[in-house]
C-alpha cells in the first residue's frame, strides 16, 4: 500500500518535472510586472492576460474567433492534405505519373507559400478563399512528399512476398503498401499540422474580419497587449492540440511499430 503511494508519488513528480521551468518563468514574470520593472506596454502581467482571457471567454467573442480560425485551418488541411495524399499515392505507385508530375511539384514546392500572398490577394481578394488557398498550399507539400517517399520506401521484399502469396491489386495495396507507407505519411501529417497554423496566422493578420489573427491585430491597434498575448497563447495551445491529435493517430495506427509502442 505505502509502496504504491510511493510509486504514484514519484510518477507525479515525473509528470510535473517538465512543467517546473515554465511555472517558474511565469512567477518571475508576474513579479517583474507587478513591481513595475516590466512595463505593461511590453508585456502585461500573466494575471492580466488571464483576466483578458476570461473577459473574452465570457463575452463569447473568444470562441467565435477560435471557431472561425479552427474552421479555416481544418478545411485548408483537409483540402491540401487530401490532395497531397492522393497525389503522393499516385506518383509513388505509378512511375508514369511520377515522370509526369514530380518535376513540376518539386519546382512549385520551392516557392514559399507566403511569397504568393500578393498574387493570392490579386486572385481571390482578401476573403475566405485566399486564406483557404494559402493553408491548403502550405500543408500540401509535406503530406505529398512524405506520402511519395513512404510508398517508395516500402520494403520490396514484402511486396515480393505478397505477390508470391497471391495478393494482387487492391489487396496488395491494403495489406502491404499502405501500411508500409503509413509511418512516413504520418510524419508528413504531423509536420503539416504545425505548418498549418503558421500559414493561418500570417494569412489572418494580413486581412480578416474574424479569427484569432484578426483579434490580435485589432487589439494591437488599441494597444491591448494583454489581448495580443491571449491570441499568441491560443495559437500555442491549438498547435499543441494538433500535435496531440497527430500523436494519437500514430499511437493507434502504428502500435505494431516498436518505436511507437506505448510501453
Amino acid at each position: 500500500m505505502s509502496n504504491r503511494t510511493f510509486t504514484s508519488l514519484s510518477q507525479l513528480r515525473q509528470k510535473l518535472l517538465p512543467w517546473s521551468l515554465p511555472i517558474t518563468l511565469l512567477v518571475l514574470w508576474q513579479v517583474a510586472a507587478q513591481t513595475g520593472w516590466l512595463s505593461s506596454r511590453v508585456l502585461p502581467a500573466p494575471l492580466d492576460v488571464l483576466k483578458a482571457f476570461w473577459t473574452l471567454a465570457v463575452s463569447g467573442e473568444l470562441w467565435r474567433h477560435v471557431l472561425v480560425s479552427a474552421q479555416r485551418a481544418l478545411s485548408g488541411f483537409a483540402i491540401g492534405g487530401g490532395l497531397g495524399l492522393l497525389l503522393g499515392l499516385a506518383t509513388g505507385s505509378w512511375k508514369r505519373v511520377e515522370t509526369l508530375l514530380d518535376t513540376t511539384v518539386q519546382m512549385i514546392r520551392n516557392i514559399p507559400p507566403l511569397a504568393l500572398i500578393p498574387l493570392v490577394i490579386l486572385w481571390f481578394g482578401i476573403d475566405e478563399t485566399a486564406k483557404l488557398f494559402l493553408v491548403s498550399l502550405g500543408v500540401f507539400f509535406p503530406v505529398y512528399i512524405n506520402t511519395f517517399h513512404g510508398i517508395r520506401s516500402v520494403d520490396a521484399g514484402l511486396i515480393e512476398m505478397g505477390r508470391a502469396y497471391g495478393l494482387r491489386g487492391w489487396a496488395l495495396y491494403r495489406d502491404i503498401i499502405l501500411p508500409g507507407a503509413l509511418p512516413s505519411i504520418l510524419v508528413g501529417v504531423r509536420f503539416s499540422l504545425g505548418f498549418m497554423w503558421v500559414i493561418l496566422i500570417v494569412a489572418e493578420t494580413i486581412s480578416a474580419q474574424e479569427g484569432i489573427g484578426y483579434m490580435t491585430m485589432n487589439a494591437r491597434e488599441f494597444l491591448m497587449t494583454d489581448v495580443v498575448l491571449v491570441g499568441i497563447l491560443l495559437y500555442a495551445l491549438l498547435g499543441k492540440l494538433a500535435d496531440l491529435l497527430a500523436r494519437t493517430l500514430e499511437r493507434v495506427w502504428l502500435q505494431w511499430h516498436p518505436n511507437y509502442q506505448s510501453r
Binding site: A164, G166, L167, P179, L254, Q255, W256, H257, P258
Partner: protein
C-alpha cells in the same frame, strides 16, 4: 516437434500420403544482361520428393528457386510444375512477416476469414498458438521463421520452396527447425525444394542433393539414409564429406559427376534428439 524414438522410418514411409507436385525442367536457362546465371538445366523432381540444392554463393541456386516460385521468368527452356500458382509457396531467408499485422493475421495473409481456424491449427502445429496476438517485432528470429513456415503451410502447398530459410538462425534453433520441417513434410506429403549453403543440412533433410556449379547441375546424389537421420553416423558423414569435397574441388568438372552410385558404409537406424 521431436521424433519419438520408437517411431521407425519404414512405418513412416508407408503411412506417408504423397500429394506433392512433380516438377520438370527442360533446358532451363536464365540470363541477366550479359551474364548467364543458369544454363540448360534438365531436372525431374518426383511428387513428394525432398530435394536440397547446394552450391557456392552466386552459383545460381537461388535464381533457380526464384524461377520455380514464379518470381522471375526463365530466359530459355521449359519449366513445368503440375499444379497452379496457388499450389506453390516459398519461404525466404528473412521471414518477411508484415510488421503491422499480428501473428495470426500474418499466417492468414491472403486467406478468406473462414480459414482463420485453419491458421490457428497450423500455428499450433509449429508450437506458437499462444503468440497469435503478438506483433512480429516481439518474436525471436526462430519464432519468426516458424510463423513464416506456418504462413506457407496454411495454403496446403503441393510444392514448398525454401530459400535458405534457416541461414540466419543459431545452431540449436536451426536443428529444431530442420526437425520441424522434416516432420511437416512427412505429414503433409508436399514436394520440398531447399536451397542451402549448409551441406549438413542438405544431407539431414533431403532425399536427393543437387550441386549447382556455374549455373549447371554438377552433382545429383540420392541420399539413401533412413529417417530420422543420425548426424554422427558414418553413412551421414560419408555423404557430407563427399558433397563437401565436390563443392570445394576446383573445376573442370569430371564427366561422371552426375551419378547415383554411392556406396554407403552403413545406414543408421539410431533415433536422435537434441
Amino acid at each position: 516437434m521431436y521424433f519419438s524414438p520408437e517411431e521407425n522410418s519404414e512405418v513412416r514411409a508407408a503411412e506417408r500420403v504423397i500429394n506433392g507436385a512433380a516438377v520438370t525442367l527442360r533446358g532451363v536457362g536464365k540470363t541477366f544482361g550479359e551474364r548467364r546465371v543458369l544454363k540448360g538445366i534438365d531436372l525431374d523432381i518426383r511428387p513428394g520428393e525432398f530435394v536440397a540444392i547446394v552450391g557456392r554463393s552466386g552459383c545460381g541456386k537461388s535464381t533457380l528457386l526464384r524461377l520455380l516460385a514464379g518470381l522471375d521468368a526463365a530466359s530459355e527452356g521449359a519449366l513445368k510444375i503440375d499444379g497452379s500458382a496457388d499450389d506453390v509457396r516459398i519461404m525466404f531467408q528473412d521471414a518477411r512477416l508484415l510488421p503491422w499485422k499480428r501473428v495470426i493475421d500474418n499466417v492468414s495473409l491472403g486467406l478468406a476469414p473462414a480459414f482463420r481456424r485453419r491458421a490457428r491449427e497450423v500455428l499450433a502445429r509449429v508450437g506458437l498458438a499462444d503468440r497469435e496476438r503478438d506483433w512480429p517485432a516481439q518474436l525471436s528470429g526462430g519464432q519468426r521463421q516458424r510463423i513464416a513456415l506456418s504462413r506457407a503451410l496454411v495454403h496446403s502447398p503441393r510444392l514448398l520452396l525454401l530459400d535458405e530459410p534457416l541461414g540466419a538462425l543459431d545452431a540449436l534453433t536451426r536443428i529444431e527447425m530442420q526437425q520441424l520441417i522434416e516432420s511437416l513434410w512427412q505429414e503433409q506429403g508436399f514436394t520440398a525444394i531447399l536451397v542451402t549453403h549448409d551441406v549438413q543440412e542438405a544431407v539431414a533433410l533431403a532425399d536427393r542433393v543437387l550441386l549447382i556449379e556455374d549455373g549447371a547441375v554438377a552433382l545429383d546424389l540420392d541420399i539413401r539414409l533412413a529417417r530420422p537421420r543420425e548426424r554422427a553416423s558414418t553413412g551421414f558423414s560419408a555423404y557430407e564429406a563427399r558433397i563437401l569435397q565436390r563443392v570445394l574441388e576446383a573445376p573442370p568438372i569430371e564427366p561422371s559427376a552426375t551419378s547415383h552410385d554411392v556406396r554407403t558404409s552403413g545406414i543408421a537406424h539410431i533415433s536422435f534428439a537434441i
